[in-house]
């Protein structure tokens, strides 16, 4: 189709102190097309989207809607123009209900006292949630929802605007395969209604499945735009990275089936979320944990780490029974947890990269009655380069980093000293292909040095590619266990949906 583009961005430049986030970038979105925006972590994708939505101001360039230049200087401007956005970190209000979040800013009032019309938003929300196949109570508090459910709420909110242009910044990062399919159905449906969609994801399979055209950014520069049929995976990666890619799922460790058990969990139960969970983890082993959202994966990790009280069950570390009343005790024993929700639980967004990385290890940097700034800097700089964190320096505030780079910092803070047990809850969420294989290589290296690793991941290829052994959780139970050799995607999916009857 050669009609007028619904949205056109021309020569947009955006500078932050110390970085040019976007340098004369172009983007053209036609009606009824799904346009994928690709690039490494820190390439400028989210920044460009925030400029279109009015959250940020561009320094140069212009934005055209239906071929006419428009002025977008605040978020309400873009809303009025029919542009809706789902931010990478969602931007929901945890203390309000799902329904209030969906209609926030447009809450309908009724009656003499102008009270919020809860009945009406409840029903309308229910409808929108059904559309994205989410089984969520519209009156539930958003802060109590899982990350995946929050994502669905954000999508429902965006749909409620009946937008002409819908921007989705990594909506699939925390969704399971099924939920991704539902989202894709919604997207295809919107496409037939002449909505222009912009879709950001680091999963190339998703791009090939859903996108019509692709625009690639690299280091804030516009690289190219092409129809998807003219591209293959190789070419896209090359456009993004500017070089060939290393192998996926690198494994440099070889499992030692008879090494010591470092962690044993025995009969662990907690309320309605966890039931009679038992398993062991050997030194140098990568134990993958799979399961649907809500199967209790993250809750189990927090329970082991002392972050959630348990009703019954025992935890043994290196042959000794331990009881952690708080995470600080677990950390003292050499357990590390990279939590699922980096912004809320993993990082201090208002603190610098250095302070974040060194926070769990303050004792270690406390020499001669003071925290040694030099030692801190040395450690954080070496981790910044080891994980290739894109930042203006170790003093940059973490809140100013791109999503994927924040994730790298959340991992880096547990690599300062080698833990005995490293628990990673969705470690590569929002991380680009290159950095992903780098994180995997680091995991494998740690394993080869004897660290026991537990990795929770919603991505089957990641679980299958990296794990020595796989536990599948369902409804708070361990539904199945597979060795690396036995495991197949089908078996895992079967077990995950079995309802926990092992």
């Amino acid at each position: 189709m050669r009609d007028v583009p619904i949205l056109e961005v021309r020569n947009v430049t955006k500078r932050f102190p110390g970085v040019v986030a976007l340098n004369r970038v172009n983007l053209t979105v036609r009606p009824n097309e799904i346009h994928a925006l690709l690039g490494e972590n820190g390439a400028g994708k989210s920044t460009l989207m925030k400029i279109i939505s009015g959250a940020y101001q561009k320094d140069e360039g212009e934005i055209l809607l239906d071929g006419r230049p428009v002025q977008i200087s605040k978020p309400s401007d873009s809303m009025n123009l029919g542009i809706a956005i789902i931010y990478q970190d969602l931007n929901l209000i945890p203390d309000l209900s799902v329904a209030e979040n969906i209609f926030f800013g447009r809450l309908p009032h009724k009656g003499f006292l102008r009270a919020v019309d809860f009945n009406m938003i409840k029903h309308a929300s229910q409808e929108l949630l059904t559309r994205v196949n989410a089984r969520i109570d519209p009156m539930a508090r958003v802060g109590d929802l899982s990350v995946a459910d929050r994502q669905l709420v954000a999508i429902a909110r965006a749909l409620s605007f009946k937008p002409r242009v819908l921007i989705m910044d990594e909506p699939t990062a925390s969704l399971s395969a099924q939920e991704v399919q539902t989202l894709f159905d919604v997207m295809r449906d919107l496409k037939t209604q002449n909505v222009g969609l912009i879709f950001i994801s680091h999963h190339l399979e998703e791009i090939f499945e859903i996108a019509d055209r692709v625009t690639v950014l690299r280091d804030g520069q516009y690289v190219d735009s092409k129809p998807i049929d003219e591209l293959d995976k190789e070419t896209i990666v090359h456009m993004m990275v500017g070089r060939r890619m290393e192998t996926l799922y690198p494994r440099v460790h070889s499992p030692q089936p008879d090494s010591d058990v470092v962690l044993r969990v025995e009969g662990l139960s907690q309320g309605n979320t966890l039931h009679d969970i038992s398993f062991g983890l050997r030194r140098g082993e990568i134990l993958g944990i799979s399961g649907l959202v809500g199967s209790g994966r993250s809750e189990l990790m927090h329970s082991i780490f002392g972050g959630r009280p348990i009703d019954s069950g025992e935890i043994w570390l290196e042959g000794r029974k331990v009881q952690f009343h708080s995470p600080s005790e677990a950390v003292a024993y050499g357990i590390a947890l990279v939590p699922e929700d980096r912004g809320d639980e993993g990082l201090h967004l208002e603190m610098s990269v250095r302070e974040n990385i060194c926070l769990p290890h303050l004792r270690r940097f406390y020499q001669n009655f003071r925290i040694s700034r030099k030692a801190e800097e040395k450690t954080s700089k070496s981790l910044i380069s080891r994980l290739n964190v894109k930042t203006t320096g170790s003093e940059q505030l973490v809140g100013f980093l791109s999503g994927g780079n924040q994730q790298k910092v959340a991992i880096a803070k547990w690599l300062v000293s080698e833990p005995k047990v490293l628990i990673l809850d969705e470690p590569t969420k929002g991380v680009d292909v290159g950095a992903k294989s780098e994180i995997h290589r680091i995991m494998s290296e740690l394993a080869s040095r004897g660290v026991g690793i537990i990795m929770v991941s919603p991505e089957l290829p990641e679980i299958l590619g990296m794990s020595d052994r796989i536990l599948v959780m369902s409804n708070g139970r361990i539904a199945a266990e597979f060795s690396r050799a036995e495991a197949t995607p089908d078996k895992i999916m079967m077990a995950a949906t079995s309802g926990g009857a092992a």
């Binding site: 500078r15 932050f16 102190p17 925030k50 959250a55 940020y56 101001q57 931010y87 990478q88 970190d89 969602l90 931007n91 929901l92 209000i93 945890p94 203390d95 780490f305 972050g307 708080s326 995470p327 600080s328 677990a330 950390v331 003292a332 947890l337 939590p339 912004g343 809320d344 639980e345 993993g346 990082l347 201090h348 967004l349 208002e350 603190m351 302070e355 926070l359 769990p360 303050l362 004792r363 406390y366 009655f369 003071r370 925290i371 809140g399 100013f400 803070k413």
Partner: protein, 330 residues
């Protein structure tokens, strides 16, 4: 995560010069404010820049500054301590009573710290392990401590102390008043703790994201308790300085001081939502409060109008804090 932080995390825009400017304001604002204020006061009143008047200011400021130092710890964790004025009153009459009974200066000093610390500990336990909102816990303590001070004294002040006792509040070493030296020493130690030690870093971390701090292995409950103990100890010591200075322990002493202390902290650029601020800023904030009060006195402004002005200054400081936050949202 509170809403403000969540929005910030999403759309924090450090748009070039403006952001740098607001960071600059946070650092240097209080200092510049103080300089401008002094110049204005000097122009309006010829007495302002006399040695005796300046001495007067620093003496008045010393007590509030010591309390504000403790308040800085509390506010950095995102808490608030409304009970400091009452703790000053109660500790003051108790330590006066102990001194009258024993005649021991050593015991008086010790009890000022211990009593203040214990009262702070009650606040701290309620807030951290008891999960009572800081506002409620310390509001309750404010009423209780004041009540106890009246119960203990039956409303009568305890007056008349020897110089040995009054040393901490009114003595001079050479030309320098002892309370000023005490205040400076306390600020140096507080600065050291907050900037150079794991405890200080942890206090900032708890204020900026409690959940993430806990998951980083920080004993969040302990630090949330500790800051109230620090606030109590420093307020107890301030009571010793105060009683020594005015040579009398009155059950009403320190009334309204919580306001001055909080104002000094906020004017000094520390954010009421926690995680951001500095002890150096509080020092400046306390001086600013002192200079404003002094200038209003010199200009013969009516005491009630003084209250109005101070209130307006506090609101202005909080507004500035808010605006610089909002700018980041832009």
């Amino acid at each position: 995560m509170n809403m403000e932080k969540q929005i910030q995390s999403d759309s924090k825009d450090s748009s070039g010069a403006r952001e740098q400017f607001s960071g600059f304001v946070r650092q240097l604002g209080p200092t510049l404010g103080l300089i401008v204020l002094c110049i204005v006061a000097g122009i309006l009143s010829p007495v302002f820049f006399t040695v005796s008047n300046l001495m007067n200011i620093v003496l008045q400021v010393a007590v509030i500054a010591v309390i504000a130092a403790g308040m800085t710890f509390v506010i950095l964790t995102g808490g608030i301590d409304l009970s400091v004025g009452s703790i000053l009153g109660l500790t003051g009459v108790l330590l006066a009573g102990i001194f009258k009974a024993t005649g021991s200066v050593f015991l008086a000093v010790l009890s000022s710290i211990v009593i203040g610390g214990l009262l702070g500990l009650v606040n701290g336990l309620l807030v951290s392990y008891g999960n009572v909102p800081a506002f409620c816990a310390t509001l309750g303590m404010m009423a209780m401590a004041r009540g106890l001070a009246f119960v203990y004294t039956k409303g009568m002040p305890i007056s008349g102390f020897p110089d040995s006792f009054r040393f901490f509040g009114s003595a001079y070493v050479g030309a320098i008043p002892v309370p000023v030296m005490e205040a400076i020493l306390i600020f140096v130690v507080a600065w050291y703790i907050l900037t150079k030690t794991p405890a200080g870093r942890s206090i900032y971390a708890v204020g900026s994201n409690e959940k993430a701090s806990r998951l980083s292995g920080i004993k969040t409950d302990f630090y949330k308790m500790l800051v109230y103990v620090i606030s109590g100890v420093l307020t107890g010591f301030a009571a010793l300085m105060f009683v020594g200075r005015i040579n009398s322990a009155h059950p009403l002493a320190g009334q309204g001081y919580e306001l001055d202390a909080i104002a000094a902290v906020v004017i000094g650029g520390t954010s009421l939502s926690g995680g951001q601020g500095s002890i150096a800023g509080t020092f400046m904030g306390a001086l600013i409060m002192g200079v404003i009060r002094n200038a209003l006195n010199l200009l013969n402004v009516d005491a009630y109008w003084q209250q109005v002005v101070i209130g307006a200054v506090i609101i202005a400081a909080v507004l500035m804090d808010w605006r610089s936050k909002k700018q980041q949202l832009a």
